[in-house]
C-alpha cells in the first residue's frame, strides 16, 4: 500500500486482520481492560503563545506547575514532530518550542532531557536537524539528540492489538526513558483527519527496521497503529505546538494557520480532543480518538478540567479536505 494511500472504509476493513475487524465491530476489545487505568478526570492546559517570540521555557514551566507535573530525578524524552523541510511552511514542531520544553523540564528537576525523532519520509536526520535549526538549539543547550530511526531496538509486546500485530520493534531510548513527552505540531492530516499528540508516535517506529515510509503501519491501518503505539508507549505528557498550526492538506502540503497557544496535559487523548474541538472537529467522529476514549483517556468535555485559558478564546474552524467535512462540529466549532 502506498504511503498516504486513501482507501474507502470498506477497502480498509478488507485489508485489516481479523482482530482489528472484530475490534471495530465492538465485540471484543483488542486489549486487556485491566492494563489501562484511566483517572476519572483529566486536566488540559491552554497557554497563550501568540508568536514564536514568547519565552517558551516560561510558558511550559507554568504549564508543568499548573498541571502538577513532577519529573524530579527522571530522564525525559522529548519527541517532536520533525517530518520534512520546505521553506515558509509549518510542517515541524518549532525548534524554539523544543528548546523551551527542554529548559522547562530541566528547571523542573529532570535528571536528563533528550530529544528523539524518527522521521518517516526523510531518513537524512543530519540534514533535517540542521536545516530546521533544531541542531543549533540542542548544541547550545547541550541536549543530546537520539536518532530513533537508527537506534538499537527491542521487540516489544503491544498492549493493544487494533493492528492485529503482536509485537513491534521500538527504540531502546524510548523504552528506557522514565518520562516520554509528545511534542507535536497541530495539523490537519489527509488520512487521519488530524495529527497532534497521538499520531506523533508514528515517529518512534524505527525506519532502519521497517523502512521509509513505515509502510507496515499503513498496511495495518493508520488509526489502528496510532492506538497500538499509544497503548504501548503510554506517553506521560504532551505539549502541542499550536502557535502556528496547519490546515487544509496537512501534514505536509497544508497552509499555516495562526492559532496562538500551547496545549498541555498528561492525558494525550484529552489534549488531542481539546485541540480537535478548537479547530472545529468533533473528536467523537475521529475514529482513533473515539476508540482511544474507551481505554486510554477522555474526550468527553465533562471529564476534562480546563487549566489556563478558556478554549473558547482560540476556537476556530480549520479548512479541511472534503472527506473530513463530515467530522466537523456543527455550527462553526
Amino acid at each position: 500500500m502506498p504511503s498516504d494511500f486513501r482507501l474507502t472504509r470498506r477497502e480498509l476493513l478488507k485489508a485489516l486482520p481479523v482482530a482489528a475487524v472484530l475490534a471495530s465491530c465492538g465485540r471484543t476489545p483488542p486489549y486487556r481492560r485491566s492494563d489501562f487505568d484511566i483517572a476519572a478526570r483529566s486536566a488540559v492546559g491552554l497557554f497563550p503563545a501568540p508568536t514564536y517570540d514568547v519565552d517558551f521555557g516560561n510558558v511550559i514551566s507554568r504549564g508543568l506547575t499548573e498541571l502538577g507535573i513532577n519529573v524530579t530525578g527522571r530522564s525525559v524524552l522529548l519527541k517532536p514532530n520533525l517530518v520534512e523541510y520546505s521553506p515558509g511552511t509549518v510542517i515541524n514542531t518549532h525548534p524554539l518550542v523544543v528548546a523551551g520544553a527542554a529548559t522547562a523540564f530541566l528547571r523542573a528537576g529532570a535528571r536528563e532531557v533528550v530529544v528523539g525523532e524518527a522521521p518517516g519520509h526523510r531518513r537524512d536526520i543530519e540534514y533535517l536537524l540542521a536545516v530546521t535549526g533544531l541542531s543549533d538549539h540542542l548544541r547550545e543547550m547541550r541536549i543530546r539528540f537520539v536518532d530513533l530511526n537508527h537506534d538499537d531496538v527491542r521487540m516489544v509486546a503491544l498492549k493493544s492489538h487494533f493492528t492485529g500485530l503482536e509485537r513491534l520493534a521500538l527504540p531502546v531510548e524510548v523504552l528506557r526513558s522514565d518520562f516520554v513527552v509528545s511534542l507535536p505540531k497541530l495539523k490537519t492530516h489527509h488520512w487521519a483527519a488530524m495529527t497532534a499528540s497521538m499520531k506523533n508516535f508514528f515517529g518512534v517506529v524505527p525506519g532502519a527496521v521497517y523502512g521509509w515510509p513505515k509502510n507496515i503501519l499503513h498496511y495495518h491501518g493508520i488509526e489502528n497503529s496510532i492506538l497500538d503505539l499509544n497503548a504501548t508507549i503510554r506517553p506521560q505528557f504532551t505539549i502541542v505546538d499550536a502557535v502556528v498550526a496547519m490546515e487544509g492538506d496537512g501534514p505536509i502540503m497544508g497552509k499555516p494557520r495562526q492559532t496562538g497557544f500551547l496545549a498541555m496535559g498528561a492525558d494525550v487523548v484529552a489534549v488531542d480532543a481539546t485541540c480537535a474541538r478548537i479547530i472545529g472537529f468533533d473528536p467523537a467522529k475521529i475514529t482513533y480518538l473515539s476508540q482511544a476514549s474507551e481505554f486510554l483517556g477522555h474526550i468527553d468535555p465533562s471529564r476534562i478540567d480546563q487549566r489556563g485559558e478558556n478554549p473558547a478564546r482560540y476556537r476556530t474552524r480549520f479548512d479541511v479536505l472534503e472527506p473530513f467535512k463530515s467530522l466537523q462540529l456543527a455550527g462553526g466549532g
Binding site: S3, D4, E126, A169, G211, P213, Y219
Partner: protein, 303 residues
C-alpha cells in the same frame, strides 16, 4: 575504525549494535581506502548473518530488511574474494525472488501501483531506496557474470540465447526491467526521487538528494531516459540545499559515475567531514569516506 564493534560489524552510532547497512558501507569505504586487512571481519560478520533462506538477518525476531540485504549483495559482489560464492549466490537468489506488493490504482496518485520493485520488508509496497539497491545488486551481478560476453550490465543480453544464460539470470533480467520502469514511473515531476511517492492528493512532492543520487546510480546505464536526464539536472540543485554527509557523499559518487564536474561538490564534502564525524552517524561517515576516496578511481558503483 574506532567505531567498529568487537564482533567485526558497525552500528549506526558508536556503541550501538552492529547492523547490516553501516557494516556494508564501512566495508565499501574502507576497501576503497585500501584498508583491506582491518576490515575483512566485516564481510565475515555479514556472511554470519545468513539464514537457510539466503537472507541476512540482524535479529531473528525482526522482519528481514530487503533493502539492506540487496545492499549486502552489492557489497559482497564488490568484495568477492572475502565471502564464499554460495553465500553470495543464495543471497542474490533471495533478492531476485523478493517483490514488493502491487496495489490498486488510486485517483490520488499518478503512479502505477501495479509495478513491483523491492519493498523494505516482506509483504509491503515497493519503494525507491530498496528498488535502487535491488537494481544495483542485480546489475552488478550481471556485470560480474558479464565477464561472460553474453551478458552486459543493465540486464540485457548480447547473445540473446536464453539457454546459455547463467542460472538465475533470466528472472533477474525481468526484475531489472520492471524495477527500472518503477523508478521511471516514480520520478518527481521536476526530476529526482524521494522515498517513493511523486504525487499525493494531486500535489507534487519534493525530490531528495540522497534518493535522487541512488536512483541515478541504479539507472546509470539508462542515461537517455527522460527521468534520468531530469534527475541529474535536479541533483545539481538538490545537493546544494541538503548539506549532510549522506547527501553530499551520494551526490559525489553519482556525479563521478556520470562524469559531471566534481570540484565544488568534493570541496564542500571535504569541508563538511569534521561535522560529519562529530555528528557520528557511521552510515553517513562511510558514504562520505567512500566518496572522497573513490572519485576518479574505479569503484563499486561504476557499473
Amino acid at each position: 575504525m574506532t567505531g567498529r564493534n568487537a564482533d567485526g560489524g558497525w552500528g549506526y552510532y558508536k556503541g550501538k549494535a552492529s547492523r547490516i547497512e553501516p557494516t556494508c558501507w564501512a566495508r565499501l569505504a574502507l576497501g576503497a581506502a585500501h584498508d583491506e586487512t582491518q576490515v575483512r571481519d566485516a564481510a565475515a560478520w555479514l556472511s554470519q548473518r545468513q539464514q537457510p533462506s539466503g537472507w541476512l538477518v540482524e535479529n531473528s525476531e525482526w522482519p528481514i530488511n530487503i533493502a539492506f540485504n540487496a545492499l549486502a549483495a552489492f557489497t559482497l559482489l564488490a568484495h568477492r574474494d572475502q565471502v564464499a560464492e554460495d553465500v553470495r549466490n543464495r543471497l542474490l537468489a533471495a533478492v531476485v525472488a523478493s517483490k514488493g506488493t502491487a496495489a490498486p490504482p488510486s485517483d490520488n496518485m499518478r503512479q502505477d501501483n501495479s509495478l513491483q520493485g523491492w519493498s523494505w520488508i516482506d509483504a509491503t509496497f515497493s519503494w525507491v531506496e530498496p528498488t535502487c539497491w535491488g537494481l544495483l545488486a542485480l546489475k552488478r551481478w550481471g556485470q560480474t557474470l558479464g565477464s561472460d560476453p553474453g551478458v552486459r550490465p543493465g540486464g540485457q543480453t548480447r547473445g540473446s540465447d536464453p539457454g546459455v544464460r547463467p542460472q538465475g539470470l533470466t528472472p533477474a533480467l525481468a526484475r531489472i526491467a520492471e524495477a527500472e520502469r518503477l523508478l521511471i514511473d516514480r520520478s518527481c515531476r521536476p526530476g529526482g526521487w524521494n522515498f517513493g511517492n511523486a504525487t499525493v492528493m494531486q500535489q507534487d512532492l519534493r525530490a531528495y538528494a540522497p534518493t535522487t543520487a541512488l536512483g541515478l546510480l541504479a539507472m546509470q546505464d539508462r542515461r537517455g531516459e527522460d527521468a534520468v536526464v531530469r534527475g541529474l539536472r535536479a541533483l545539481e540543485t538538490l545537493w546544494t540545499e541538503e548539506i549532510s554527509a549522506t547527501s553530499l557523499g551520494l551526490s559525489l559518487i553519482c556525479f563521478d559515475v556520470y562524469g559531471q564536474p566534481l570540484d565544488h561538490l568534493a570541496a564542500r564534502l571535504a569541508a563538511h567531514a569534521e561535522h560529519a564525524v562529530t555528528f557520528g552517524n557511521h552510515h553517513g561517515i562511510a558514504v562520505a569516506l567512500f566518496a572522497l576516496a573513490s572519485v576518479s578511481q574505479p569503484h563499486a558503483f561504476r557499473l
